[in-house]
Amino acid sequence: MNAIRFIDQVLKPILFLLSLLPLALLIGQFLTDTLGTNPVETLTSTTGEWTLHFLIITLCITPLRKISGWHGLIKLRRMFGLFSFFYAFLHVLIYTVFEHSLDLFAIIEDIIERPFILLGFVSFLMLIPLALTSTNKMVKRLGGHTWQQLHRLIYPLTIGGALHFLWLAQSKVDVRSPLVYLIIISVLLILRYPPIIQKLTKR
């Protein structure tokens, strides 16, 4: 089996199923009442953290491609990007339904009055056009260059998501977890700095 078919027919399906595991675990825990004492809090924080995990995985693809020379990895990037959107969407859904019982006024008040919610909301908004333009048809319609420019939004939205987490954690004084995410994200962004990419790229 050649490399492309391996990725399409073996690796991608396996990784797809693995990416659904966090959700499967949450559903399983919900059904067995093992989400903990504050189930909504568990759901909110777990979906939020997996959004960040998948954004980080997505951001790893390009550096990995350049370092390994395995260009087939690009075929995985869209899938992981869409999973980021998927978990972000779940995170926002849980927030609107279980934090605010779909009370639109309460949600708007939260967005206006709480900067960390506004930041999270804006970061999520930036993900939407990326999800909508993820198909091959949309790449053709936009043209490769425009598409690439639009998808650079992943940089501010990932930082926004991590800062949203940091801002919330500051109120409980324990900022260690969000700081780890910010460090990892910073490293991934530094790896895109052209002089560094050139040094790392496999010829």
């Binding site: 399983g28 067995t32 009442d33 093992t34 903990g36 004492t37 504050n38 189930p39 909504v40 809090e41 279980f98 934090e99 019982s101 309460a106 008040e109 939260d110 009055e113 709480r114 960390f116 801002w167 919330l168 500051q170 109120s171 409980k172 004084v173 324990d174």
Partner: protein, 320 residues
Amino acid sequence: MLIKRPDDIRSSDITSESIYKERRRFMQGAIGAGLVAGIGLNIPSDATAKEKAIINQDFPKLPKSAFNISDELTTYKDITTYNNFYEFGTDKSDPARYAHTLQTRPWSIRVEGEVENAGNIDIEEVLKLFTLEERIYRLRCVEGWSMVIPWVGFPLQALLKRFKPTSKAKYVMFVTKNDPKQMPGVRNTLLHWPYVEGLRIDEAMNPLTLLAVGLYGNVLPNQNGAPLRLVVPWKYGFKSIKSIVEIRLVEKPPITTWMRAAPSEYGFYSNVNPEVSHPRWSQKRERRIGHFFKQDTLMFNGYGEQVADLYTGMNLTKNF
């Protein structure tokens, strides 16, 4: 059922130290076993039966307080496994996991400052001297969740009166035990240790203000602030300081640990108030543990009748 008058409770009715130490060890083991079972996929359907078997052992015949509320009680499991006690870690499950290293005997509380009779009082003396009763209170955490807890305790005013505060005593300061050998969380500096809290003297003397030694008719588990903690039900939960080693009567309001950590977010009074939001979240609603959807938060956590007049004329937005 006959409600006993306080003098009917003899000190011999209160379990002797060795027996409740034994029961506490058993309870912590039983809870541990319950937790392990909980991590697996099957939750024993007799969880309530298990709870019923272990509660009400140490303080079996308590009079019930007139302040008891009729809200549904939070389960013993939730009360003892979902805790903010940063001295043992910052995750909610950390205190239950790590607080077993806290030594709750011998334990004495130093009462000093603007009092006539400064001195130490041993926890065993406390258990003998003061009439214990069951107090079912709401507890509202500043984070936005709440519980209903059947405490075992006595009014703080009874202990303070014994030490005779002078006219200079305007505030009461409380200090938690601070020992890095027993409390792994104090080895980091996320908060400034020891944990300090405070009340105005009239808040401290209010009949609602409780010193708790137990919950659900048993001695306090370590993670809930054994062997002696404060419960101020009309204020956010972080003011209900745990594992008290010192009570000091002072002239000026003490700077509490959370005021020091984030002065724009946590104030001295921290009265439960749906009209005053925290910078990161609204305080209008709360999640009652055990319920999925939120419910409205009550002014003074529903204790306005007892405490509202402590604050007449005060701007509660400024004095948050």
